[in-house]
Subunit: 396 residues, 2 copies
């Protein structure tokens, strides 16, 4: 018999536990696996031999993984040293762990490659499961965790849009996660059911942010609508490449930047004399189970299953990825592929040019088409008597 | 035949449209009502005669009111003058409006009382429907809108708590709405399933905030847990009665204070050298339909129905309120009562002393018992292998 070990790295998503669920289910169906260990507390858990056999818990408990936010086995941001990798190989042998599955983002995939190199000669197969709300892992069409972050933000911005429209007296700036990649920010545009709906302005970190253009756009929209919804990435930078919000405080390697949303709201008040407020759902978004994408969750389960299958086939040093299939009716379907870890290690995938409009204050239709299937849910229908009144009064 | 007019005032809640739905349904069931008008754009909509007959829309459209955030007929913060009230009486007569229902918070109830006084001699009955996320309307046990705000914050903080616990490397400060009353902030404590769960510290604006005690408490909890979740009201004031965050900018009557959550996170970083971040869901919370409280929604419908019934009985100058009934098994049940408008006009109801603990960093069990039934949903069950591991390893 042989054992499997699952390790989580980095920040959580709404569906990382769904991948863990996928591994456990796949192991049960495949047979030949004795224990499915979870490393408690991330890669440090390997070195400390903090293992829990997850497969021994009853099915109804394990089902809770599908709706438990964050990571049920913990995680870490521990920086590993060369000697750690050798120590890990010894631990794996001690516990008869033949298959090691690392679930994480770019940093974790780097670790995954290094563990693979340190352990392959010991007969241990190491496979990566991608995970990040930021969607910045290379090669794969998209990453588990992103679809839920996109659904959360788009549905939330749709609701905020209705709120602002119903009492249109201010500019509302919503801050989105993703310091270097604007994928989450961009997804907010899915909130629109028709032209003119919120969000009215969308700013990604891939484009240098110009305050004057921003103020010009806000002013124009405010005069037209009375209520304006802006979505801005937490990582907006100016033309000089520096964050638009100056660092508030620096301690050691950590820099505390202050909030882009609050900064932009203040800019609107100060420069335009228009009332403005900021919202920063932050980790409330990545932890939201109510707004989990069902597509994302299913794909996360699939990623877990595929990782174990690949490991059993001996395909070490690879990460599970997704490609979109061509379908006769252009409907959305993905299949899993195995991507060599070297191709994804530490490379951050930005939003490409063709997904951002010319003025840099919105996304393109091509982006929306790409993103829409991932949220797994349409924006709900609302009723707007203000609009119906204007239609009736012939003002529109 | 006679007509009804519904008017919305102030900021939205997740269930204000549910009260509107209640009015329309009650009117249909009662008979004798020709049109149920909505004033488009709040009290300004009365003066502009911007009325839409809502009862003529098909039932399936009207059902959408139950799940449409914000206010489907708009709202306003327009400050009325004495002559406006006289003008309103003329408008009501012109449209055969005999029953006027105003849905709003303390400010709107003040307007409600004034319209009542200006119109009663014209045979027009004016009734108030309470609404506010802040729950600061006097006399009534609680206010429609609050239960949903409480469910949103408690379930969100439960999820944030799991997130922070799964990767316990920082202090997370969540900002809650309610500048003068801490009802929403307090509700976050419902997130706990057992002692030690998030939120770990809860600060209401009713108590002077002491930064030194805050830092002391955060430090102790961080050393114990590694991850600390703080919930702080947007309106925290120091012992001098001034907001703890100095005004960032002032323009006319509007003051822009900056965010309490960001201020406290920075304080933790600067003074304790501990990583900290802030989350400010803000209006994302009051607009959330997914986390609407089913109890709150039902009560909002009831409030709408009761308001029309009271109006038809000729009980003008009153607001619908709720009292808790004594039940044999102590289960939750409310009944509607009519409260004279003078008793609620412009008075802000704070959280009473007995709901706040001695140190002023948490709520009491009495508060939790009072608040729990209002959210209409228990915090979901999650699975935590980290905890199961510690139990197994006998570390707990």
């Amino acid at each position: 018999m042989a054992n499997v070990l699952v390790v989580h790295g980095g920040g959580p998503t709404a569906v990382i536990n769904a991948s863990l669920y996928g591994v456990i289910m796949e192991a049960a169906e495949q047979g030949g696996i004795d224990h499915v260990y979870g490393a408690i507390g991330g890669s440090e858990g390997i070195l400390k031999e903090s293992f829990l056999d997850l497969a021994e818990y009853p099915r109804e408990k394990l089902e809770l993984l599908l709706t438990t936010p964050a990571t049920a086995i913990g995680s870490s941001r521990y920086a590993l040293e060369e000697e750690d990798y050798q120590a890990m190989a010894a631990v794996f042998e001690k516990y008869d762990i033949r298959y090691v599955l690392l679930n994480g983002g770019n940093g974790t995939m780097d670790t995954c490659g290094k563990i693979h190199r340190a352990c392959r000669d010991h007969g241990i197969t190491v496979v990566g499961i991608p995970k990040t709300v930021d969607n910045d892992i290379a090669v794969t069409d998209h990453t588990p965790g992103y679809g839920s972050a996109a659904r959360y933000l788009s549905e939330t911005v749709a609701e905020v849009g209705v709120d602002v429209k119903s009492l249109p007296i201010h500019v509302c700036v919503v801050e989105a996660m993703g310091r270097n990649a604007g994928w989450i920010t961009a997804s907010s545009a899915l909130a629109r059911k028709k032209p003119g709906d919120a969000p009215h302005l969308v700013y990604l970190p891939e484009r240098p942010f110009c305050e004057e253009e921003f103020l010009e756009d806000v002013k124009k929209l405010y005069e037209e609508k009375g209520g304006v919804v802006v979505v801005a990435s937490e990582g907006l930078k100016g033309r000089d490449g520096k964050p638009i919000v100056p660092p508030v405080f620096q301690t050691g390697r950590s820099v505390y930047y202050g909030d882009v949303s609050a900064y932009l709201a203040e800019l609107v008040i100060r420069r335009l004399g228009i009332k403005a407020r900021s919202e920063k759902p932050g980790i409330c978004g990545r932890a939201s189970i109510r707004l989990q994408s069902p597509v994302d969750r299913d794909e996360a389960v699939l990623a877990g299953r595929e990782a174990l299958r690949a490991a059993l086939r001996g395909e070490g040093g690879k990460m599970v990825g997704f490609v979109r299939e061509k379908t006769p009716d252009d409907s959305y379907r993905v299949s899993a592929v195995m991507i060599p870890i070297e191709e994804v290690m530490l490379y951050e995938k930005p939003v490409p040019k063709e997904y951002i409009n010319d003025r840099g204050n919105d996304v393109t239709e091509a982006f929306l088409q790409w993103c829409r299937p991932l949220t797994g849910a349409a924006i709900p229908e609302y009723i707007d008597f203000q609009e119906l009144y204007r239609e009736k009064a012939g003002q529109e």
